[in-house]
């Protein structure tokens, strides 16, 4: 395997950006990421993005977004209709071919134009589930109910996750929800999607993220603090919710093992858990010990959840902290689909 490192990363997130379109939102983040490296998009061996046209409501919105890259003369480019974390996986595979040394990965998503609940319902099994239009929060609530009924977690545990997220997010400029909150006070809030309260749900956000990957010596040339991808794996479970045990995450467990997250010390973990109870499921599936591993030091998706972006942000945030010397080894995780259907685990090392 070729050593591939994260050499640059930036993101932007906000509650809603109704002034700029996706391209205008992406352009300054692209420049801020490539500029300090002395590179332009033309220097990239491969470019790959993650986004969903259903968010914008425009067919081929991802092609329009390429304007921000300036794809002329023609570039080698790809796209996944998924979170940017899965685009990063494609870039990592592409770099394994050995003929290129750099890749640009970007992700963007604006939740503000549409009704996010309905947009996300379109990813469901289209014959029997989709036509019922269950929204993502309701499906997550079913999962949370199953988890609590199984005895693996309580509403108090969910409040603890939320309080930790709010506290951790305090120094994250891209977080929309942050601050010191009292766990007991959280439990006094009314139920929203029983057993979930509003604070158990992620923010609805607009945002984007940009990352540059480089292989071997090229990574060392570009930065003094490359953060190496030591393992990466993506696993998918059935789209039939009824055939899964949603109180656990078999795909995360397997991806974690394949990526090497189950051995050695993990200093910090960035877990893509849009709903509070999902963080508990992921900690369990990855076998993380909360007394030894900092969980979601950025505040995670509860603090800021730009669609198609929040997964790549987990990898970026973990890499940023390792580059800053906050640890030697981290796990980053991204999810996709209803109730943690698909999961990607990435192990990073400074």
């Amino acid at each position: 395997m070729r050593d591939v490192a994260v050499v640059a990363y930036n993101q932007f997130a906000t509650r809603r950006d109704e002034t700029r379109n996706e391209i205008e939102m992406l352009l300054p983040v692209l420049k801020d990421t490539l500029g300090p490296l002395g590179l332009t998009t033309k220097d990239m061996g491969f470019t790959v993005s993650g986004s969903s046209d259903y968010l914008a409501g425009q067919a081929f919105a991802f092609v329009s977004a390429l304007d921000a890259v300036g794809p002329w003369p023609p570039i080698a480019e790809s796209h996944v209709e998924m979170d940017g974390a899965f685009a990063l996986y494609e870039a990592w595979v592409r770099l394994q071919h050995g003929d290129i040394d750099t890749a640009l990965v970007y992700a963007f998503g604006k939740s503000s134009p549409g009704d996010l609940g309905r947009v996300l319902a379109l990813q469901l099994e289209p014959y029997l589930v989709g036509p019922l239009w269950p929204d993502a929060a309701s499906l997550a609530a079913l999962q949370a109910r199953a988890l609590i009924d199984s005895g693996k977690a309580s509403e108090k545990d969910l409040a603890r996750v939320v309080a930790r997220s709010r506290r951790a997010a305090q120094d994250n400029p891209n977080a929309q929800l942050k601050g010191e909150v009292d766990e007991a006070a959280l439990l006094d809030e009314p139920l929203f999607n029983d057993p979930l309260r509003k604070h158990d749900l992620p923010t609805i956000s607009d945002g984007c993220a940009v990352m540059v990957l480089a292989a071997g010596d090229r990574a060392r040339e570009l930065t003094d603090t490359p953060v190496w991808i030591r393992g990466i794996d993506h696993r998918v479970e059935s789209q039939h919710l009824g055939s899964r045990d949603v109180t656990t995450s078999a795909s995360t467990r397997l991806a974690g093992q394949k990526a090497g997250a189950d051995v050695g010390t993990i200093d910090l973990a960035e877990l893509h858990a849009p709903f509070s109870h999902q963080e508990l499921i992921l900690i369990d599936a990855l076998g993380l010990d909360e007394t030894r591993t900092r969980i979601n030091p950025s505040g995670g998706a509860l603090a800021s959840n730009p669609m198609m972006t929040a997964g790549l942000v987990r990898i970026g945030e973990a890499a940023k902290r390792l580059a800053a010397g906050e640890g030697n080894r981290a796990v980053a995780h991204a999810t996709s689909g209803p109730a943690l259907q698909q999961n990607l685990v990435c192990v990073l090392e400074a």
Binding site: E24, L27, A56, L66, G70, P113, D115
Partner: protein, 162 residues
């Protein structure tokens, strides 16, 4: 034997609030006043009409606004013989790609005032505007282009856009 189910219908309706963005908003405000505003790329110097968010060749943000004329050259066209759903125009009609004078990109508009068999690449045309009282934030303020009594533009002058 039970008949197999071969088809189900599951209606989908999605509503969106479109965010045109800074550049397109300036273009749309111009159209409302009957002004055709293009934007020049500082790198390749091409004038985009309508303006996009950035130059799609260079990835550069635009720096200069250029007012484009409502006369132009039809660089290519298609004769349409089948109507789209919800669109009733007398058939056949001509959909034209027109590069308006002062712009470097083509816009799609209808061609009227000439029989489809007389439509030619390079034909000089002029915009026909809907009544000023009806102008909106839309390129549809120009409902069609019609021929100008001018010699055709030489192919060399627009071959890059074909």
């Amino acid at each position: 034997m039970t008949e197999p189910v071969t088809e189900i219908i599951t209606p989908i309706r999605m509503d969106y609030r479109y965010t045109p963005g800074t550049e397109s908003s300036a273009f749309l405000r111009g159209m409302k006043e009957g002004k055709m505003l293009g934007r020049r790329c500082p790198s390749c110097e091409k004038v985009y009409f309508p303006a996009r968010a950035v130059c799609s060749m260079c990835g550069e943000a635009f720096t200069e606004t250029v007012e484009v004329k409502d006369t132009g050259t039809m660089v290519t066209f298609a004769v349409v013989n089948v109507n789209f759903a919800n669109r009733v125009i007398d058939l056949p009609y001509v959909t034209a790609e027109v590069v308006f004078d002062g712009a470097d990109t083509a816009s799609m508009v209808l061609l009227s005032g000439v029989a489809p068999e007389e439509a030619r690449m390079g034909m000089r045309v002029k915009a026909h505007w809907i009544p000023e009282a009806e102008w909106d934030f839309s390129l549809a303020n120009i409902d069609y282009v019609e021929p100008l009594d001018e010699p055709d533009a030489p192919y060399e002058s627009f071959k890059e856009l074909v």
